[in-house]
């Protein structure tokens, strides 16, 4: 039974439960809603929730558990000899799954009948050929154990689906009966319904925790996997980044330091662009500008923050890069720059992106400095700029530092601009016109390449992700701590 139908059936059961439950409650009250404990709708909702919620929980559970069981059973069928040199169980299982999908496809198209698909002794060369003829992706010749496993996989999947559908509908019906039995005028339906709504609200709030948990677990799990294949010490201390393209490890040098250097260098360039401009813009807007200028300039600057990063990436690659190259390049320029992609290209584009980020955060912070402090300074005869430099900025400094740190964490985590503007080769150089690469750019290139997921070349991306996650998290926590600590001073 298709998945969508199952969901619709459960929803239909719940909907009919609402109507019947409401009706039963009204009936028990003699048709007069005033004799009911709760409003009639609550009795309906009680039944509907009891029918739908457990059924959906069972469905979700089945969706998670069923593949695990099937995978375990089927993979135990594959003999050790089937796993070729340099391959692993995961790859063979992928082959099994592909074969099973292919057979499914053949059966659906009517090219193969069900008994032939299930027959374990089918001539397997014939099957391979027929799958290929039908346009299915089958990599190698299918061997007998793989075919047998695929057939088992199909059968288990089919019966699993059947069992799942039956179970879900049974649970829904049981919930329906339970709810209907309760639908009586003295039943406290509202309390029950409100409690379950509260539970759902709480579940919604917990998604944030689950997300963090998911991020941390997927990073840790794969990072540990990576350190099993590649020494952790090398990862943290090696001054070289040169993954081999074979995707089998061995000759790869995967040191994180050159990538961190590129990341920091580009972020520093970006901050050198964004912080002075953003800070002065914030000072002018909050201290000098009249309401008209402010009403125009502030939203205009914030447009820069609303532009997607892919636009900045393209701008860096196709406009800024060639522009810088014509000034600093070999061709009629100063001869410092070799290609369009460079630290400066990515850094400047990123700096433009960060201007509104710095300016609006600093603006808020400067506005939070109490007017009395400015008035005191004016009273002593200071000019406006002296007041700003000697009173307002020192008072706002912790907040501004926090804003800069938040901007830095943005810069470190930024991906599209560096992927398009910064280059692909890792290098430990001081020349800002040289191409460098960053942690984020390498995460993308290692995970979008052709190497398989079990190789250290792909797994290293998770270790890089972990590095990035820890770095940005630490920066954020520190920045928020500073901002919070000093904001309280004037409250």
């Amino acid at each position: 039974m298709p998945f969508l139908w199952l969901v619709l059936i459960v929803l239909a059961i719940a909907a009919s439960g609402y109507v019947i439950g409401r009706g039963r409650a009204m009936q028990s009250a003699g048709g007069d809603a005033r004799h009911l404990h709760s409003l009639p709708g609550y009795y309906g909702w009680n039944v509907a929730l009891k029918a739908a919620v457990p059924a959906f929980l069972v469905l979700v559970l089945a969706l998670i558990v069923q593949p695990l069981i099937i995978n375990k059973t089927v993979s135990s069928m594959i003999p050790e000899s089937e796993i070729a040199e340099g391959s692993n169980l995961g790859l063979v299982m992928a082959e099994v799954r592909r074969t099973a999908d292919g057979i499914d496809h053949l059966v659906n198209e009517g090219l193969m009948d069900e008994s032939a698909a299930r027959n374990a002794r089918t001539d397997f060369t014939d099957i391979t050929q027929r799958l290929k003829d039908a346009g299915q992706v089958v990599t190698s010749n299918i061997t007998q154990p793989v075919l047998a496993a695929a057939q088992k996989y199909r059968v288990m999947n089919g019966s699993g689906k059947l069992v799942r559908s039956a179970l879900v509908i049974l649970v829904a019906l049981a919930g329906l009966l339970w709810g209907l039995k309760e639908s009586h005028k003295d039943f406290r339906a509202r309390n029950i319904v409100e409690r379950s709504i509260l539970a759902m609200l709480m579940a919604g709030a917990s998604v944030a925790v689950l997300t963090t948990l998911g991020i941390v677990l997927s990073l840790i799990f794969n990072t540990v996997e990576f350190f099993k294949l590649y020494p952790a010490l090398d990862f943290f201390t090696l001054l070289e980044w040169s993954p081999s393209f074979s995707g089998r490890g061995g000759s790869s040098a995967l040191g994180v330091l050159p990538l961190l250097w590129g990341t920091f260098y580009i972020s520093i360039v970006a901050l050198l662009v964004a912080v002075p401009i953003g800070l002065f813009a914030a000072i002018y807007l909050s201290e000098y500008a009249g309401p008209k200028v402010r009403a125009f300039a502030k939203p205009m600057l914030e447009v820069l923050a609303g532009i997607p990063t892919i636009v900045y990436g393209l701008f860096a690659l196709l406009t800024l890069g060639p522009m810088l190259l014509s000034v600093f390049g070999d061709d009629g320029g100063l001869g410092w720059m070799q290609g369009q992609r460079a630290v400066m290209t990515a850094g400047i584009a990123m700096g433009i992106m960060l201007i509104p980020f710095v300016s609006s955060l600093s603006d808020d912070i400067i506005n939070a400095v109490p007017q009395a402090m400015r008035d005191g300074s004016y009273g002593l005869g200071a000019t406006q700029s002296e007041t700003i430099k000697q009173v307002v900025l020192p008072a706002a400094l912790p907040g501004i530092v926090g804003a800069v740190l938040l901007a830095a964490s943005r810069a470190i985590g930024e991906t599209m601009i560096v992927v398009m503007g910064a280059g692909a080769a890792a290098s430990l150089s001081l020349n800002p016109f040289e191409a460098m690469t960053t942690v984020t750019a390498k995460i993308v290139s290692q995970l979008t390449g052709d190497s398989d997921f079990a190789s250290p070349e792909a797994l290293v991306a998770f270790a890089l992700g972990m590095t990035l996650f820890v770095l940005t998290l630490a920066l954020n926590v520190f920045a928020l701590y500073i901002v919070r600590k000093y904001r309280e001073q004037y409250d």
Partner: protein, 445 residues
């Protein structure tokens, strides 16, 4: 005392050196502020100019309008107009017809040219023109035997020549086209045969292979983005609102609440690429959801936009004055009823505004999509059906732009800029709707 008064150096009307210095410093400081704002605005102008000057070209495409004779002996040998027979003729059967038509036109116009064969016209005609003609014939087999006016798509080189991107010098080492072809194009343009016209296919069409930039369009990627946004809306709005209501109205002060709060504020600052890693590890590797599917993209973007939506929803819930809640409780509503019947409807405009802004953010996000395989997939077919829209591999607008920017042919750069114009149009519309919603429905209590 009177000396001092009379000494012009001490007059209040004449600035002493120190005051002048301080005033100069004041002016300088103010100038820095103005300069900073001006620089920011100049950057914005440069950015927008770059986008529009490079991108508007993508909305124009070069076509040759020529009469094509649909030769019955080539297209329908049996002559019985059987649709199956007509379908058997591949695009190779149509290519010579188009080339012949263009060649005849060149002869008829009397343009001087060193080319003597119809095959030499191949450099002018896009490889997809034949497919378009074939589709038209299959849709209407009665056309066979007639001569029809057909708008032939020109190659990207010809298109680039008319747009000034390709010059005679730049094609010297180009295998596909010679400078003499451009003389032909000049002649045909003067005769009104070669013309640029508005390119609907760029907005509605599908992505094309690396060698046919003239055919590539955003349409399929737009559909992919649409389904992704649908997933984000259907998941993020209910979850976000539920989380906000819980935290704002019901949550007791305890460890779990604190943990949720800390998590939300931290998730808002996690780099988007990390969400891509999460999507890859959990949705694709663990849950075996299909790669490149808008469903997976939508789920990843949901997790990414949730903090934005929660933060803005909480702000608008907080803005509803407590007197509303007290009044509801006072006339006997339960806490839950006061929230769902009174507070939530009043906070709705604010929630919707925040959701639209979150959606706009998600629409422009690219980095997580790279990791779940939405880049590198050539989105050349529309998904079939509603469910297919969620599960079939597809691209998304920003991913499509990135894909084009990566390709070697500079003709694709123009497409990428054009794609950005479309993307920005969507973002602008969404933001304007948000602003209008806020202006129209926001209440000050």
């Amino acid at each position: 005392m009177s000396d001092a008064m009379n000494n012009p150096a001490n007059s209040l009307l004449v600035q002493d050196a120190r005051t002048a210095k301080r005033n100069a410093a004041e002016k300088r400081f103010r100038f820095f502020g103005i300069a900073a704002i001006a620089t920011g605005l100049v950057f914005l102008v440069i950015l927008l100019t770059a986008i529009f000057s490079n991108g508007t070209g993508a909305f124009q495409q070069t076509f040759l309008t020529v009469p094509v004779h649909l030769d019955e002996t080539k297209l329908d040998k049996a002559g019985n107009r059987d649709i199956e027979d007509i379908k058997k003729v591949s695009t190779f059967g149509y290519n010579p017809l188009i080339q012949q038509a263009v060649f005849d036109m060149v002869q008829a116009q009397g343009i001087e040219t060193p080319f003597t064969k119809r095959g030499d016209m191949k450099a002018l005609i896009s490889a997809s023109a034949a497919a378009q003609l074939r589709d038209e014939v299959i849709a209407n087999p009665d056309l066979i035997g007639q001569t029809i006016e057909f708008r032939v798509l020109a190659t990207s080189r010809v298109d680039g020549y008319l747009k000034g991107r390709v010059t005679r010098e730049s094609v010297e080492r180009d295998k596909n086209i010679d400078a003499e072809h451009f003389d032909l194009v000049d002649g045909l343009r003067d005769a009104g045969i070669v013309k640029k016209s508005f390119n609907w296919d760029f907005i509605t069409g599908a992505d094309a292979s690396e060698s046919r930039p003239e055919q590539a369009g955003m349409g399929v990627a737009m559909v992919g983005s649409f389904f992704m946004m649908l997933v984000v809306l259907l998941c993020a709005l209910p979850i976000g609102v539920a989380a906000s209501i819980y935290l704002e109205e019901f949550a007791p002060q305890n460890r779990w609440t604190d943990l949720i709060e800390v998590n939300i504020s931290n998730l808002a600052a996690v780099p988007s690429i990390v969400f891509g890693i999460l999507g890859l590890a959990v949705f694709i590797q663990f849950a075996h959801l299909p790669q490149s599917a808008p469903l997976v993209g939508g789920l990843v973007l949901t997790l990414m936009t949730l903090p934005t939506i929660i933060i803005s929803t909480r702000a608008s819930l907080k803005a509803v004055p407590p007197s509303i809640r007290d009044a509801a409780l006072g006339v006997g509503a339960s806490k839950m009823q006061s929230v769902f019947h009174h507070v939530l409807p009043l906070a709705m405009p604010g929630i919707l505004t925040g959701t639209i802004i979150g959606l706009a953010q998600a629409l422009g996000e690219t980095a997580p999509l790279l990791l779940i395989g939405m880049v590198g997939y050539i989105a050349s077919d529309m998904p079939d059906g509603f469910l297919g829209g969620f599960l079939d591999p597809n691209s998304a607008m920003p991913a499509q732009i990135y894909e084009w920017a990566k390709r070697a042919d500079p003709a694709y750069y123009e497409r990428a800029w054009g794609g950005i114009i479309i993307l920005l149009m969507f973002l602008m519309t969404m933001n304007i709707i948000a602003v209008i919603l806020r202006r129209r429905f926001e209440r000050r209590w």
